[in-house]
Symmetry: C2
Subunit: 214 residues, 2 copies
Amino acid sequence: MNNAGWLVVSSGVEPENRRTAGRRTGESGTRDAILAAAREQFAGKGYDGASLRVIAAAAGVDTGLIRHFYGSKDDLFDAALELPDEIPQRLTRALTGDPDRLGERLIDVYLGFWEDPASAGALLAIVRSAIASDHAADRLQAMLSARFLADLAPHLGGTIGQARVALAGAHLLGIAVARYVVRAGPIADLDRAELIALCAPAIQRYLTGPRPTS
Amino acid sequence: MNNAGWLVVSSGVEPENRRTAGRRTGESGTRDAILAAAREQFAGKGYDGASLRVIAAAAGVDTGLIRHFYGSKDDLFDAALELPDEIPQRLTRALTGDPDRLGERLIDVYLGFWEDPASAGALLAIVRSAIASDHAADRLQAMLSARFLADLAPHLGGTIGQARVALAGAHLLGIAVARYVVRAGPIADLDRAELIALCAPAIQRYLTGPRPTS
DNA sequence: CGATAAATTCCACGGCCGTTGAAGTCAACA
DNA sequence: TGTTGACTTCAACGGCCGTGGAATTTATCG
């Protein structure tokens, strides 16, 4: 067989939009295309608003392939929600160091998660879907407490209560919702550095008490 | 005609579940029943998740009556989103008084809005629907800036920037989402008084600068 | 080469959705 | 009393949804 000819045909002319069924030759990358399209749709419209047909179309693929690779819509959602492994590491790294700058470092990595393309989609999807309906709220709750509070609590010494950590989390959540989900004017327009400078003291006070009153 | 007889029939025995069409005798309260059911559904499931058929069923009414009284689903949503007139008044009242307790009073009325049955449903519906999808976010944004920031700004003296007011708003939004929408453990379980005591200083510092460092 | 498994397409089902039109029944007013 | 208009029910339309099964083509492995 002639590999050179096959290459020319495959990269030059489109394969004339074949509509017949059957396995394609070469690596198709279909699985990843579906996941990427799913991330985008879930992030933009939440679980209910996203439709498998639209996801498939965006991935340039038949709807049946979603079922083939991922099973049900729920399974696809779970796959789209996977976060990079490095998140806990980055979080714990932010927790070590000068305790007087803890708030600053914490909001810095937090904003980083929302701006990193590897995690932003999943975060948007989680928040959008969890807030949309009563039923899905558990997932956000679990993730919030499991990922953040649990990681946070041991590093802060047992002195401060769970409530103060939760309030810091609520503040961060509010900032993320305003800046990245709703994109409300004043907060979305703020420079990242300005934003950190403005809200770091509040986070700091929640986590280490009212000591640093400079 | 016999008013007494009519009264007995109407209030005593059920009108034997008549399925025939036609106007009913007496005041039906249908319009209000629809609005109440709509508030509940929109609050619990957001705009997309709520269905006219379920709303009609919850109101014990035919779907066509929704159309008759309110028109389209959008129109019904608008009607369900109307907030009590007293909200701006309560807000401005909270803004006058001892400036050192501004944060405390502000979060107090804010929590009040979320706990008052007259406004809680509409707030839930707005947040749920606005966060669910890109497209609907404008409504929350408009309401946030129009109702809260605009009312707030003139009362705070021109010295502090828009950004700090917005950050206070973001913090309040985060608290409301955690406590009333997602109902995340630590914050939802908190006593109202405890909650106010814990987060009032943060709000206060955003609005009046880092002066009260007691 | 032959068999098995993977990747892909198409079509159809049942269900829920928002909307619409037609018709029935009663109150209110002239 | 007769007419008009408000209230109410029902049946249907077209559309999108998630899921499922059947058929087809190709790769892979024995």
